[in-house]
Amino acid sequence: MTGLRAFLKEAGVPRLIIAAFVIVLFGVAVATKMNLPSLVTDSIVRVARNGILVLALLPAIQGGVGLNFGLPLGILCGLIGCVLTLNWGVGGAAGLALASGIGAALAIPVGAGYGWLLNRTRGQEMMVGTYLGFAAVSGMSIFWLLAPFHNPTLVWAIAGKGLRTTLSLTGSFDKVLDRWMAFEVAGVTIPTGALLVFFGLCALVAWFFKTQMGITIAAARSNPRFARAAGISDQRTRIQATVFSTLLGAIGIVVYSQSFGFVQLYTAPLLMAFPAIACILIGGATVTRATVTHVVVGTFLFQSILTVALPVTSQVIQGDISETARLIIQNGMILYALTRVGSGK
């Protein structure tokens, strides 16, 4: 009995409910003889697509900044990288690398500025991050509209200026990673390249938190006073964590776009932080602690629900209930995490 209780406490009731939900959805899919391999393929593709954006939250949590609702700041850096790459007509793996490189390079100063601000607004990081992200996304919308791009494949055909809301990556780096070494097992297509990059970055992050810099960042989070006594400034480590998070966000959106096949501009990045945050929380992370396992498990659970819910429920209910379910699960999960921190800052 105590064993069961301990297990429930360790795994977390919401996570178990969500895991059960995933199993039930797949069960219904099997029972109604749906095309299971294609559902699994879609789930895996979406894990690889969204994974890095979820991973981007980890350094912020580990660094004591909390849930990084300001993820769109990093995403915007990555989008600038994508747009420039498309404008210059660099395609294939080189295009992908260039877009990520530009995104990462921009993310470092942006992340440093953002981290500096978060240091001065302690205790309200989540709210400041959310609205800073919102403001940046809407500010950049004006930029996309006014930016001096003239490449006819990118701008509105009639006006001759202003970037389009979605830019196709066909002929550029569309699915470069998803296709790389992709193979099929039992009807399930594995997007090897994208998965390798995701797991590779996971390993890199896990390794980073074992290096001296990573340990310092985590130590400053878990006990700032003790760290200060040991000569570590948590002001500094928090900025490092924020930069790392923003940088991963920039790379994350480039990988997301190559898998999706389109670069989405304007208001598209506005709410992107929320599903990513729900993923890492479903995986078992809290506002103060997260591991790479939480990232992988959470992304898999949440993205599977999103993939499978629509085709499965549409057999039972008319209309698209998956978007509604997403809103409830995603925000319910974040609320649950917010109420659980209590005084344990």
Binding site: M126, Y131, I142, L145, T324, L327, L335
Partner: protein
């Protein structure tokens, strides 16, 4: 001496001053006529002020900006839809909607307040997420439960499939129920300006009520909590209960505010009319120079005027300047978000500084 004082005054009113400059600039650039602007503003102030007023009580009680007023707006919307569905119309229909909204809003406010008590110090972000969460439940109700679990036969409102509400629901039976209760039109530059006099009376009444509330015993308790919750608790003020009450009052006012808004618009975008209520009301309040911890009735009214002037002016100015109204629309959304960000940053900055100095 007077120079320093002047600088202090400018510093204190820098945000509203900046907005006045922006508005005037836009008006000049877009060559907006006074009659047009006044006509628009008369309508917008009438329909938006109550929503902005609903933010004041939680600020007084130290809960910060209540991003959860979206949930109150949902209560108002649910009431409006059902009141019209049951065939009520005119001012009677509006009254029924208000009565119906009351218990729903109290329930929602109680739920939100309970949440805020569990997430102390994170009320704002919790309120924001709670709004998104409630939106999911709201969609569940109106997209799937209506016409299936809840009997609801009304081909005008329900989607052709037999369940789920249409994207827009016509509220014409209660349109202008309050605005036109007392008809008054003023001729100006060849056009007739509608003055929704009854709406202004209603808004005025709520301003007076809010001011009166600040002076009551409960209002004073809220003020004490806002200044220092620990001291207030030691002084025997039931802090948790009062926080709950503040949230319920705010949610209730927001529900009525949304009703006043909807009776002017006359249609409801079932799935997104309420979404931006919180953002626009909060931005409007902050534009006046109000902060996360201090806001007055006067600031609520001033902020509504300034923010909505910019709202009317910016697409037109964008069109005049860059030949594209879209820029102006992005700009006003950017301004709303930016104003909220700056206010939050200043608030967090100052409270972090106070904490550092206290240590």
């Amino acid at each position: 001496m007077s120079f320093a004082r002047g600088r202090r005054l400018i510093g204190r009113y820098s945000v509203p001053l900046l907005f006045v400059v922006l508005c005037v600039f836009g008006i000049v650039v877009a060559e907006i006529t006074p009659a047009f602007l006044l006509g628009e503003m008369l309508i917008r102030i009438g329909r938006n002020s109550l929503l902005v007023l609903s933010l004041l009580i939680p600020i007084l009680a130290g809960l910060g900006l209540n991003f959860g007023i979206v949930i109150g707006a949902m209560a108002g919307q649910i009431a409006a839809i059902f009141a019209v569905h049951w065939g009520f119309s005119g001012i009677g229909g509006f009254g029924v909607a208000m009565l119906l909204a009351t218990p729903i809003a109290i329930l929602f406010g109680w739920a939100t307040g309970t949440l805020f008590n569990k997430a102390k110090g994170r009320e704002m972000v919790s309120g924001l997420i709670a709004g998104f969460f409630a939106n999911g439940l709201y969609q569940l109700l109106f997209l799937f439960a209506i016409g299936t679990l809840i009997p609801f036969h009304n081909p005008e409102m329900v989607l052709p499939q037999g369940f789920g509400l249409r994207n827009t629901v016509d509220l014409s039976p209660i349109q202008y129920a309050v605005d036109d209760l007392v008809k008054w039109q003023v001729p100006m530059e060849g056009t007739m300006l509608r003055v929704p006099i009854a709406s202004y009376v209603l808004v005025g009444a709520f301003c007076a009520l809010t001011l009166f509330f600040f002076r009551t015993r409960l209002g004073q308790q809220f003020r004490a909590m806002g200044q220092d919750p620990h001291v207030a608790a030691i002084a025997g003020i039931p802090v948790e209960r009062n926080r709950l009450l503040a949230t319920i009052l705010s949610t209730l006012l927001a529900a009525w505010g949304q009703l006043l808004f909807l009776q002017n618009i006359g249609t409801v975008n079932t799935y997104n009319s309420h979404e931006q209520v919180g953002m626009f009301a909060i931005a409007a309040l902050l534009v006046s120079g109000a902060t996360v911890t201090k806001a007055t009735v006067g600031q609520a009214l001033l902020g509504t005027i300034l923010f909505h002037t910019l709202f009317v002016v910016s697409p037109l100015a964008g069109k005049a300047l860059a030949g594209d109204a879209q820029i102006g629309e992005f700009f006003r959304v950017f301004v709303a978000y930016a104003v909220i960000s700056v206010a939050l940053v200043l608030h967090a900055w100052q409270s972090a500084k106070r904490e550092r100095e206290a240590v």
